[in-house]
């Protein structure tokens, strides 16, 4: 990807003489390409603006060594800045350093992948770390949502023997279910309690207030925002509202197995400040991976 980006930049920076410093004019031209690539990748406009400004500042006046072309020089600056903006090289693990049962709260828009991801995280924690995990569905709205999580728990349990779904009790509110989940977790010696919530719109005040209450009564160690990798410009609103309401500690990008360029990842990181911790790479319970910024950077630039 690096070669292609520097190729593109070289085209743009053709006029620049070697051994020189990158001038404002040269860089402005190159930044147009970067801006377009990022918008095509669905990075949110305000995030693109910030990023481009930052890269412009870093580039102008930058000395171009004899050994590299100006195109290569700018491409490297862009690439490094992007990896940086995505959280720096390497993956950030889930933080479960709390007194068990450790609550993990899953939030996000409708259909983003919360329930499936809950099942995947349960599999990962029980399989790799030997954790005993309780899965609790707080979704009392979507038809068969609680049943969906229960079936996922059964599938995971068939593999690891350490995962259970909180029994479904009709008529309880999400806050009541959350409390019951933590009580059960304590009483029955669970290590982790995953709280799967109903999908909600960031502008739905009543439901955003509900999730705020859930957070207040459970004090989760991780509050994970699950975001579809195909998300467009609305990523800004989602990131802002959920972060303001419940304080996001990590982001999960689902459906990275698609061919979306996944610019929403950059928007999420830029707006919430929370690291992207995991990516969903399929519908199967095993399809959960650590997030590697250096891989996603190239994908966002479409190169």
């Amino acid at each position: 990807m690096f070669d292609q980006l520097s190729g593109k930049m070289s085209g743009v920076l053709e006029g620049l003489s070697k051994n020189g410093k990158l001038t404002e004019g040269d860089v402005t031209e190159a930044m147009r390409e970067v801006r377009l690539a990022m918008l095509e990748a669905d990075v949110a406009l305000p995030v693109v603006r910030d990023f481009v400004n930052k890269v412009r500042e870093r580039s102008v006046g930058h000395e171009v060594l004899e050994s590299v072309s100006p195109g290569q020089a700018v491409a490297k600056i862009v690439n490094d800045a992007l990896i940086d903006a995505l959280g720096g090289a390497g993956a950030v693990p889930l933080n479960l350093a709390a007194v068990p049962p450790v609550p993990v709260l899953m939030v996000g828009l409708q259909g983003s992948g919360k329930t499936t991801t809950s099942g995947k995280i349960a599999l990962r924690l029980s399989q790799r770390e030997g954790k005993k995990v309780l899965l609790a569905s707080l979704d009392v709205y979507r038809p068969a949502a609680q049943l969906q999580l229960q079936q996922l728990a059964e599938r995971v349990n068939a593999i690891t023997k350490r995962v259970t779904a909180l029994p479904i009790v009709a008529g309880q509110s999400p806050v009541e279910i959350a409390k019951r989940a933590l009580d059960t977790g304590r009483r029955e010696g669970y290590d982790v309690v995953i709280l799967d919530t109903a999908g909600r719109l960031s502008i739905d005040e009543a439901l955003m207030d509900e999730v705020r209450q859930i957070r207040a009564v459970t004090n989760p160690a991780e509050t994970l925002l699950v975001v579809d990798a195909m998300t467009g410009q609305d990523a800004v609103n989602t990131a802002k509202s959920f972060n303001e309401a419940v304080g996001i500690t990590g982001v999960v990008m689902s459906r990275m197995d698609g061919d979306a360029r996944g610019g929403a990842a950059l928007s999420m990181k830029a707006i919430t400040g929370a690291p992207i911790k995991l990516t969903g790479s399929g519908e199967k319970l095993e399809a959960l991976e650590e997030f590697h910024p250096e891989r996603v950077a190239g994908r966002i630039l479409g190169l």
């Binding site: 918008l39 038809p143 719109l201 502008i203 698609g258 360029r261």
Partner: protein
Amino acid sequence: FTHRKLDDAALEELEDELIAADLGPVVAERVIESFRSSRFGKDVTSDEIRDALAEEIARVLEPVAIPFEPDPKKKPHVVLVVGVNGVGKTTTIGKMARHYSDEGKSVMLVAGDTFRAAAVEQLQVWGQRSDVPVIAGKHGADAAGLAYDGIKRATEEGKNLLLIDTAGRLHNKGALMEELAKIIRVMRKFDETAPHSVLLVLDATTGQNAIEQVRVFRELVNVTGLIVTKLDGSARGGIVVALAEQFKLPVHMVGVGEQVEDLRPFSAQDYARGLVGGAAGDLASRLVDSQPDTPEQA
């Protein structure tokens, strides 16, 4: 009235607003260019900006605003509902079941998602809500066989409309797309004209990837129309403008909530105003706030 010259800076701001509504950088630029040629340099009020831009966009959407009308001669009119994961296929079928039942049509559903956990039960709840029968098999059952059974039953019972739910699948997964093609092949063993409609459901929060979704689904399963969901949120669904330009596929209806009644016909005017209302609408008021009448305009 407060006026402002619609100069380069103002046009650029408008373009950014359209990008923020998911039209995509290229389409946004094109819309603004043609807007520029008709309006450039004129003094305009904020309302005029909004109206003119909405008009411009509505012109693109008008040709694709085509209501969905089941063919009354077909018994049943067979509809296959497809799309990537989580966009709202099952919910939309639930809403359609109610809508067409209320119109006096007899409706039957097929729980063709035999893959995702509790997908069958989810559709069954929707069936109960409108007292519409649901053909379902076991988890992991062959979706094509189920669709075949569905057409057979619906034909025997003289139903008007058969809505077939399918598992969500990403368009870049060849094997899953082939499975969809197989569902169609098997259906045709019973009725070679089926399915009469293939509706692709799109999520309004989706960005530029929607273009690939439409391109691939259309190529592989001959999509006849689009449905856009989740327009009750803050996402403006601007990608539909790009889709209308590029594919000219009918956009039949929109989803505006999770309840059974939250389905609306697609209206080019309303959609365009929704796009601009949240975009240029805001911009227009900002322009007015920040730019009082300048002497040259007085």
